[in-house]
């Protein structure tokens, strides 16, 4: 809870003022029935019209004051709550950005969305309601009770005797409902995840005529959600009618006892007194009902808070490192017995030991699932090695926060995301470059002709995930983006796969010029790409199989030779032969 309301401090003065205004306006509301009793007792019953006038004038004054107070306090309170909601939203978003990518994936986009928007909204809604009630409830309760006691301690006592019953009702009804709310929220996360997955795979879903299947999944999650909501609500809905009934019984009892009291000689109780007590009972009833409403919201509120808190207290990927140390490497990389496992059992990568000098261009080559991309993830600080160490410039990178590691890496990944927005802001991700720099990155990224076709130029609007771009254009936007980022190490993880060979050869020429002196790691399937590199690392089944130049590897590494042959038009047959041998 404390995590969520951390930033509430700056709203405290405003909330205090709001509270005071609320208190005043509640006092006005309390004053009205008192004045009304006066009208009946001292005015109408006593035949004193003068008194009626006076009381009515007082009522009018109180009413006007009341309106002013309410409007003003609304304005203040409303602004404070919405301001707090804004802060909370931003805080959650900021937190997600600081979480490790792994953690983000664990929650899933759907779950994160509900938490950062809907759950935050709901929390603030409840807080707002509670704050406004917090002002009126104690006052109505206290003032009502005090006034009722002043009129008749006996009658007021009856009412008080009934309140524990109401408390019991609230307790019994609210018990164990939080699990329903938790399930409902989880199903909502699931709906979100399902819908966004379905939208992103729309063409596949439709191609396989699976719209119904997808719809079925969403429908099931929705039905489960509604079942839980109904269950949770049903219990909460019991509270008001039962409490109301209990308090009504109290009212009846008060009338009966009151009537009895009047019949006794020497009684101080008047008819107006009884009427007033009933009025006050009404007031107290409203107060108690408000409290019970508020209590009935608690299970749901707690679930929401728990979900948001879980995010806010999640680990910060950049915390827990020796502070103040920045990592500025020269571009040399050393792997020392590096191994990694995604699941905990079975290594996706193991025993990788290699040395890359600053300024070298190195190719990673190997079969599908050989561990190349896993190694790239480690270099980007998206994952940490399960065993072994990676050194940049002879500095163990595990001692640095990921954000420092990433300052040394500019990376294009296999399926990188292009964000919606102007072409310029998509390429200039950090937003720190001038137009000329952006243009040169685009030119080197082979987007010159694309840019020339667009009248809007740099302001060309890219759709969500760059969907108004072809696969190759998307890759080139990603490449340009990475070229613009200045780092000692550049990684291209299979990022030329959607480019035709002509474009790739132009790109490679541009890279050679632009990135001279920088370390380049190129993950590729193409021997033609690898052969021009200073060094080639051949991966096989999560292990580093061989290191060397093209010529060296063709001689010494069977695997590399096979890959090489498979890519020569003439080599297909030979590869087939090798394959059959394997079988």
């Amino acid at each position: 809870m404390r995590e969520i309301f951390k930033g509430v401090k700056k709203y405290v003065p405003r909330l205090v003022v709001t509270y005071v205004l609320y208190v005043l306006s509640t006092l006005c509301a309390v004053a009205l029935p008192t004045l009304m009793t006066g009208v009946v007792d001292n005015g109408i019953n006593a035949g004193n019209m003068q008194y009626v006038y006076k009381a009515c004038a007082a009522m009018a004054a109180v009413t006007v004051l009341d309106v002013g107070l309410i409007v003003f306090s609304y304005k203040l309170g409303n602004d404070a709550i919405i301001g707090f909601n804004h802060d909370l939203r931003v805080r959650i978003f900021g937190k997600v950005l600081r979480m490790s990518a792994k953690e983000v994936k664990k929650y899933g986009v759907g779950g994160l969305l509900t938490r950062s928007l809907d759950d935050a909204d709901r929390i603030c809604d409840v807080v707002g309601t509670v704050l406004s009630m917090m002002a009126s409830i104690p006052i109505t309760l206290i003032a009502g009770t005090v006034l009722a006691f002043r009129k008749s301690p006996l009658l007021a006592g009856i009412l008080l005797a009934f309140t524990p019953i109401v408390a019991l009702v609230v307790f019994l009804c609210g018990r164990n409902t939080h699990k329903h709310w938790r399930i409902a929220d989880e199903e909502i996360d699931k709906q979100n995840t399902l819908i966004s997955a379905r939208l992103s795979g729309m063409r596949v879903v439709r191609a396989f005529n699976q719209e119904e299947t997808e719809q079925g999944k969403i429908e099931r999650a929705t039905r489960r959600m509604s079942k839980s909501i109904v269950r949770g609500n049903m219990r909460a809905e019991l509270i008001a009618p039962i409490s109301m009934f209990v308090l009504n019984v109290a009212t009846v009892l008060i009338i009966v006892v009151g009537a009895q009291q009047i019949t006794k000689p020497n009684t101080l109780l008047t008819a107006g007194g009884v009427l007033a007590v009933i009025e006050y009972v009404g007031m107290i009833t409203t107060g108690i009902l408000d409290v019970s409403y508020f209590l009935s919201e608690i299970p749901r509120f707690r679930t929401k808070c728990g979900r948001v808190k879980e995010l806010l207290t999640a680990g910060d990927e950049n915390e827990g490192f020796a502070s103040g140390k920045s990592l500025q490497a020269d571009g040399s990389i050393r792997f020392e017995n590096v191994g990694f496992s995604y699941t905990g059992d079975g290594l996706a990568l193991s025993g990788v030991t290699a040395q890359i000098k600053a300024g070298e261009t190195v190719a990673f080559i190997g079969g599908t699932g050989a561990g190349k991309s896993t190694l790239v993830r480690l270099l980007c600080g998206l994952d940490t090695p399960t065993e072994g160490k990676i050194f940049f410039d002879e500095e163990d990178i595990s001692l640095y926060p990921p954000v420092e590691i990433r300052k040394n890496i500019s990376c294009v990944r296999q399926r990188d995301v292009v964000f919606s927005g102007r072409l310029r802001s998509s390429v200039d991700a950090a937003g720190t470059h001038i137009d000329d720099e952006v243009l040169s990155a685009l030119a080197d990224g082979q987007l010159q002709s694309f840019l020339e076709e667009k009248e809007e130029g740099l302001k060309y609007a890219l759709g969500e995930r760059g969907r108004n771009l072809s696969g190759g254009q998307k890759q080139r936007v990603c490449i340009s983006r990475s070229l613009l980022k200045d780092a000692p190490i550049y990684i291209f993880d299979d990022s030329f796969s959607a480019l035709d060979f002509l474009t790739e050869s132009h790109l490679r020429a541009a890279l050679k010029k632009r990135l001279s002196g920088k370390t380049q790691l190129i993950v590729t399937q193409r021997v033609s790409t690898a052969r021009s590199c200073d060094k080639i690392l051949v991966f096989d089944g999560g292990k580093l199989a061989a290191v060397g130049t093209h010529e060296h590897l063709v001689e010494s590494c069977a695997l590399y030779r096979e890959i090489h042959l498979s890519q020569l038009g003439v080599g297909i047959k030979e590869a087939e032969v090798e394959h059959e041998k394997e079988e």
Partner: protein
């Protein structure tokens, strides 16, 4: 998102949406009937209770003035007290009944029902529409807007049914008691209504803006969370946070305005209400003192006018709920009203052999910027067609058109001589299978993902397909083999994902097969093995292969080189090389160095 529709749309107002909603609700007449029944029950109790209470108080007041026989007086109280108690019992039963029926009916019909309906609507919308909407927008529609509808409907029903009926009943009762006072109370009511309407109009505008901002923030958050690794790699955290803060602040500003405006209703109505209460006191007091009316009646009236204020205040209190309901319903029903894809009912008249023909096809995603211009091609049944050319040249668009994801603006596409625009989309896709460059796997087991295209596939079928696609090897290394659940957290390489989607296509055995850069992330050795498997599989299939690695398509029956939306080269590999055109140039650039 600007989506200016040039067609005139008459159906867009809040009232239109609420009308639509009412029509929807008519499907659950019995529930509504139960709700109204309970509501009326509550109202009757609400009217009876103060009346009994009033007479009790009157008795007490009379007694205190007259000081008669105490016992007789108390005995006289028994009956009204019992009545009052019974009324309270019914009141409790009816109000729970009302809540019960509303919660059940609305959660199922609105909160869940609309969500299901909206998500179903997505399946009937053309991709050209979905392209223009962000995932965030869609989630905000399905989730937030519907949630708002469901969340506010309860209060709205209270307001409309309860408040309205209660006021009417109270009015009648008051008229029966004393016409003068009743008329006075009545006269003051329209003032509340007028003031409320004025405020409503203003805040409605703000609420509409509010939803747009919600769409925006959903979209931004969705995109950021979905691309978190890219965000991190490029150190975009601070920039993203800054932009998000801006969007959130805009949302907060509009929320402040909208909420404040609609919250004005309550104090305004309360004020008018108090004034009417004072008037009742004055006139009632005067009438009682001058002896024109007995005290009991005046007290009852005072209580009525106070109770009369209750429904009014309830309406005022629930006012923002009505507004939220209206504006979110508007969003929901506007979306449900979007134009859907045409729904042809015709299937192919005979089993599909797989002859594909494009005839003078022209297509543009954006008006006046054609991606495909006057393209014609013919593939005989069983032929293997390769499509090559630079990126952005329109290769994938051909696939999109053949699958009817989009409809060509000009020209026709035929399969087995039948115009596919006349064929039911599902029937069409029943006969075409496809592997895309962008792999798509859903959260489910490996086996489920492979069997996606084929209902009722056995485990043997799945394993056979996986073996053919060379996916069996890595699948058996996964923690639970074919039963491993794939999620965002499962780390499959791009190539492995492609192998799974290829297995999927292998399993769904169809007359036409499209491979759009299907093996781009697969290493070349595996690719060759897959090629072999495919050759077997493709023997009788018409096959379209889009590929960059030209070595994979040299055996194609026909190679089409496409550039800037036009076919620039057609023929067999050897012929094209000899001819020395566009294709030969491509080939040289790829294999000159090898």
């Amino acid at each position: 998102m600007k989506r200016k529709n040039k067609e005139k749309k008459k159906n867009t107002g809040v009232l239109w949406a609420l009308g639509k909603m009412l029509r929807d609700l008519s499907g659950i007449k019995l529930w509504l009937l139960a709700i109204v029944f309970c509501a009326v029950g509550v109202i009757v109790c609400n009217v009876l209770a103060p009346s009994f209470l009033g007479s009790l108080v009157g008795e007490i007041s009379d007694f205190s003035l007259a000081q008669g026989d105490g016992k007789a007086f108390l005995r006289g109280l028994v009956k009204p007290t019992l009545f009052l108690l019974i009324t309270y019992v019914f009141y409790a039963v009816f109000s729970f009944g009302k809540a019960f029926f509303i919660t059940n009916a609305m959660t199922n019909k609105i909160t869940a029902g609309k969500r299901i309906q909206l998500s179903d609507k997505i399946s009937r919308l053309p991709l050209s529409y979905l392209d223009k909407t962000t995932t965030g927008e869609m989630l905000s529609r399905v989730h937030s807007n519907v949630g708002m509808m469901g969340g506010n409907i309860h209060e709205t029903i209270d307001v409309v049914i309860m408040g309205g009926l209660q006021m009417a009943v109270m009015m009648v009762m008051m008229l029966l008691e004393n016409a003068v006072i009743a008329v006075m109370v009545l006269l003051l009511t329209p003032i509340s209504a007028i003031l409320a309407t004025v405020i409503a109009k203003k805040s409605a505008k703000e609420y509409n803006k509010l939803w747009e901002e919600y769409d925006a923030i959903y979209a931004y958050a969705e995109e950021t969370y979905g691309g978190i690794e890219t965000v991190k790699n490029f150190g975009m955290e601070s920039g993203r946070l800054e932009e998000y803060t801006k969007i959130s602040a805009r949302l907060a500003d509009i929320s402040k305005k909208a909420n404040f405006l609609s919250s004005l209703v309550q104090p305004v109505v309360g004020f008018v209400n108090h004034v009417s209460f004072i008037a009742v006191c004055l006139v009632g007091g005067y009438l009682a003192i001058t002896g024109k009316m007995d005290v009991e009646t005046v007290v009852t009236l005072v209580l009525y006018s106070k109770n009369f204020s209750q429904p009014l205040m309830q309406i005022a209190n629930g006012f923002s709920s009505v507004q939220l309901l209206g504006s979110s319903a508007k969003k929901v029903y506007e979306f449900l009203d979007e134009r859907e894809m045409s729904a042809e009912t015709r299937g192919f008249s005979a089993p599909v052999r797989g002859e594909v023909c494009f005839e003078d096809v022209e297509f543009a995603y954006v008006e006046n910027k054609p991606v495909i211009k006057g393209l014609s091609l013919r593939a005989a049944a069983g032929e293997k067609i390769a499509i090559v050319g630079p990126t952005g040249g329109g290769k994938t668009t051909l696939v999109n058109l053949l699958m009817r994801f989009y409809e060509p603006q000009k020209g026709k596409i035929y399969i087995d001589g039948e115009d596919i625009s006349q064929i039911n989309r599902e029937q069409l896709r029943e006969n075409v299978s496809m592997v895309l460059q962008d792999t798509w796997l859903f959260e489910g087991t490996v086996a489920e993902n492979i069997a996606y295209g084929k209902a009722g596939a056995t485990r043997e079928d799945v394993v056979r397909a996986a073996k053919a696609a060379y996916a069996d090897g890595f699948i058996s290394l996964l923690p639970k083999g074919y039963d491993t659940v794939l999620s965002d957290a499962t780390a499959l390489s791009g190539g492995q994902k492609q192998l799974l989607t290829i297995a999927r296509a292998f399993l769904s055995d169809k007359a036409v097969l499209i491979l759009d850069e299907a093996t781009s992330d697969v290493d070349t050795r595996t690719e060759i093995y897959i090629q072999k498997a495919m050759d077997k599989l493709q023997a009788k299939k018409t096959c379209f292969v889009i590929a960059h690695r030209l070595s994979t398509i040299v055996h194609a029956d026909k190679i089409l080189a496409i550039d800037k939306g036009e076919i620039v080269d057609v023929g067999k590999h050897e012929d094209l090389l000899r001819k020395g055109g566009f294709y030969a140039e491509l080939w040289r650039s790829q294999y000159a160095s090898a």
